[in-house]
């Protein structure tokens, strides 16, 4: 019974329901290889960023600047490409820039003790602003096909998009980090009770700083994926995507109060979000309705576990 009540089990049931309803409504198209390929591409960036963000939220913090880091990374790729750099050099530089963005978030949170919410609302504006300063409202689109094919073609002989392969590799890495390492145990301990974690010798500030740096770096990777996928570097790429990522993480059963959550749940959350989006797109629903659905899923993600009982969110803890 307890097992059935687990949020992750509920998610898997919902996923199955979406697959069944989707197949029936679309006459099988929903589960076809072609559609799943597009579903995979559609959620690529959300899925990538959700991985490190899960760890950040488990540690009791939040990062709302991820979509801006994605945009800044995209703008940086475009700017450096215009300046005549080689893509082999640009891509690691963009990831490094993302890590620096994350480091600034992390330093403001850990050194000054500022709430991550306020800090990352500030850097949400700052990083997006820097992207605009770099590229303005122009787009850079003349990337070589040898690179852009990684963004929008399947791995030869399969239906798997390259970004999803990248996601799978990172997911294994983050799962090991969160669930099978002392670093992961520290992350849970910090989220459950920062003072107790500090007294038991966990270097709270360092762990949080590392998590913010990782999130920035992965958000920059997502920026590269986005740029290659649409073969277009723009300052406003991924605008508003932070909502979808936060929604997926909370829908995946990670407690916004920190200390609770599983990466498996988050991956199920990402798939559920992606599946619903895909179903709505197949039904020709407007993007505005997609946004409403994403917002509603975010609310459901925090409210339902709350209403189900204190199993998921022990009462009395405050962010």
């Amino acid at each position: 019974m307890a097992r059935l009540l687990r949020w992750e089990s509920v998610l898997v049931l919902l996923l199955v329901a979406v697959a069944v309803v989707g197949s029936v409504r679309t006459g099988g198209t929903f589960l076809s290889g072609g559609n799943l390929f597009y579903l995979g591409l559609d959620i690529a960036e959300i899925a990538l960023i959700a991985l490190p963000l899960t760890l950040v939220v488990v540690s009791g913090e939040i990062d709302l600047s991820v979509a801006s880091v994605l945009g800044l990374s995209s703008a940086l790729v475009g700017t450096l490409w215009n300046a005549g750099w080689a893509l082999e050099l640009i891509l690691p530089v963009a990831v490094l820039a993302g890590a620096l963005c994350g480091a600034l978030n992390g330093l403001l949170v850990t050194r000054l003790g500022l709430p991550s919410l306020a800090v990352t609302i500030g850097t949400l504006a700052l990083y997006r602003g820097l992207a605009l300063v770099l590229l303005g409202d122009t787009a850079v689109a003349d990337f070589p096909a040898s690179f852009t094919q990684f963004g929008n073609t399947p791995i030869p002989g399969t239906r798997i998009p390259y970004p999803i392969l990248l996601f799978a590799l990172l997911a294994v890495g983050f799962a090991v980090l969160l669930h099978h390492s002392s670093f992961g145990r520290s992350t849970f301990a910090i989220g459950a009770n920062p003072e107790a974690a500090w007294f038991s010798g966990i270097r709270v500030k360092r762990v949080k700083l590392i998590l913010f740096v990782l999130t920035g770096a992965v958000a920059a990777v997502a920026g590269i994926v986005y740029t290659l996928r649409f073969s277009s570097a723009r300052a406003d790429n991924g605008n508003g995507l932070e909502l979808a990522v936060v929604a997926a993480v909370l829908l995946g059963g990670v407690s916004i109060f920190g200390g609770k959550g599983t990466l498996g749940g988050v991956i199920a959350g990402v798939l559920l979000l992606g599946g619903l989006r895909n179903l709505l797109i197949l039904d020709d629903v407007s993007t505005e309705v997609l946004t409403v659905v994403t917002g509603a899923l975010l609310l459901a993600g925090v409210l339902i576990p709350r209403l189900l009982g204190s199993r998921y969110f022990p009462a009395g803890r405050k962010t």
Binding site: I62, L108, L112, G113, L114, P115, L117, A118, V119, I121, G122, T123, L124, A125, L126, Y127, R128, G129, L130, L132, V133, G136, D137, G240, L243, V246, A247, L250, I256, F257, S286, E288, V289, T291, V292, T294, G295, A296, L298, L299, V302, L303, R306, L307, A315, K318, T319
Partner: protein, 338 residues
Amino acid sequence: MASERGAGARRLADRAGKVRELGILLALLLVVAGTAFSNPRFIEAQSVRDLLLNASIVALLAVGQTIVVITRNVDLSVGSVLGLAAFLTADAFAANHELPVAVGVGFGVVIGLACGAANGLVVALGRVPSLVVTLGTLYVFRGLDFALASGQQINAADLPGSLLALGSGRLLGVPNLVLITLIVVLAAWFYLRSYRSGRQLYAMGSNPDAAVLAGIPVPRRTFTAFAVSGAIAGLAGALWAARYGTVDAAAGTGLELQVVAAVVVGGVAIFGGSGTVLGAALGALLLSTIAGSLVVVGVPAFWQQAITGALLLAAISIDRLVALRLAAALRRTRNGGA
């Protein structure tokens, strides 16, 4: 002895608050003087009027946001509430030109109130962080706005002259919108400083657990704070329609960032418990003056968002350092008094 100590602490907190507002005024003077030095037309009557007019809607939203932030919550949905209220109000006026202005504006307020009440209900009853709730409703309200507007745009030609006169009119040379904003600021300022329930909002923000123990009806006050913030955003939406005349579903998109920035720059602690609506309104004025000054001195518009973000970060960092010093000072006072 206890009251003496309390009085000392209050004096200190008062002084810190005043210093913050003076700091914003000083920054404002510096920006204005610096810009006027490079272009004297910056301080002509008309451009000062424009500066005040540009700041008024954000200042209005900042008043509602302050009421929420001092309770240690945040309302990220204000831009969407403004958009929804602006469209529905404009739509009502377009459909009925005989609609009295006060009734139409009241309609906008009611729409905002409904949105705010929805936020407040979920936050107060669900005991879910307001950040998450209002991040969700930011998109839900905006999506609703798009669904209702379904691609249409309302133009000034569709609106009655009475509404447009409210937006462009002046009283004794001061734009109507600025006067309305001033009235709301003063009313909120008076309420927060002089009414018991107003003071209770501060108590909730500075120590939520103590507020519960002290018998403050925290859920009810939280609900009220969000409802008021929504109502003010609704009023701002109606005024937006009056001022710009052209309203589509995207009105006010991204405004929440400027509002949060204004509140924080205005010295309202993001941790709750301190700050004034006067400071928040001045913060809004400072931000819009800086934006206007950037245009005058020839900085490309693309820099604006980066500068808003940097200012927000600087403000919360300074705020944190001030709070730490104040806490240290309060400790000293306490030890001295004991």
